[in-house]
């Protein structure tokens, strides 16, 4: 039976060779995270490089160049062009470099609280909406519990990942949310 890995980096760590070489590969991968995100977004939208270039109004070679470029060479204009062509919006954010993961979790928890409160204010205008929002509150409760329970079950002393200067996150999508709901409903059944 062949050994399997969850990422190319994990695979490389388990291959024979010099650590200095493995570091070069890691730098290549981490240094192009923005380009990898743009590549994924284009493929997800079912666009070839040529089609996207046509939509943006540039050459295919520019798309190819962007998708192979290191983080420092990708401009805000590139991000805007991709977003516009793919029907997305760019969200940029800064965080204090000393921010710990627990602080991030607390931050997001407060943001969720804020959004839920806003939702309850809006729902008071209409009975039907209020009913829907109440149902949604229950879903949030189940989903949050599922997320925490799943994360808790993953404790097995793995090494923490190296933190990079640029954190690239995929846009929040309805499909991700639906997946969580699907899993949580199967858990609660």
């Amino acid at each position: 039976m062949m050994e399997t890995y969850k990422s190319v980096l994990e695979l490389i760590k388990n291959l024979p060779g010099e650590d200095s070489f493995k570091e070069l590969v890691e730098n290549e991968i981490q240094g192009k995270r923005l380009a990898k995100l743009l590549f994924y977004l284009r493929c997800k939208g079912n666009f070839s490089q040529k089609e996207l270039a046509h939509k943006i109004g540039c050459s295919q070679s520019r798309i190819s160049k962007i998708e192979g470029a290191p983080n420092e060479e990708i401009t805000v204009k590139d991000l805007e062009d991709y977003a516009k062509a793919l029907g997305l919006q760019v969200e940029l954010g800064f965080s204090n470099s000393s921010t710990r993961l627990v602080d991030r979790i607390k931050y997001h928890a407060f943001r969720i609280k804020e959004c839920l409160e806003r939702l309850s204010v809006i729902s008071k205008r209409d009975e039907k909406i209020e009913e829907g929002v109440k149902k949604f509150y229950k879903e949030v409760f189940v989903n949050m519990n599922t997320i925490i329970t799943r994360s808790f079950s993953k404790f097995h002393g793995q090494e923490p990942q190296k933190r990079s200067l640029v954190n690239v996150s995929a846009p929040v999508e309805k499909i991700d949310y639906e997946r969580v709901v699907e899993t949580s409903s199967s858990v609660t059944k």
Binding site: T4, S7, V8, P16, E28
Partner: protein, 123 residues
Amino acid sequence: MAEWQITKTDKFIRDFEYYQKKHPNELVAVMGNVDTYFRTLKKLSNPLQIQAGFIHREPAGIKAIDQKGGKQKIKLQQTRLYVYPDIDRSTLFLFTIGNKTNQSEDIRYCQEMVKKLKGGGGS
């Protein structure tokens, strides 16, 4: 749907060691591209949806990932990493690394590997 995983053959390990010594820049570029391919495959699950200049379609569902991409300071030799995205097993197999010269021989080897995989022999 099961999460996609990546695995390698013994031949790939030998090729990896050779390229690390003889063509390290090409190997870094190819591994960077296979990382891009695999990350996207994990999220989309459909190999046909993933298209780029560095991905070449070969027979039997095999893909050749080359060294192209970005602005490279030095001219890199043509290098191809042959992979096979096995949808049934949700596994990306890394078969072998080669150059333009032994391309047809490499593809034949990969086709044999795919045949074995489809026949049920997974190791």
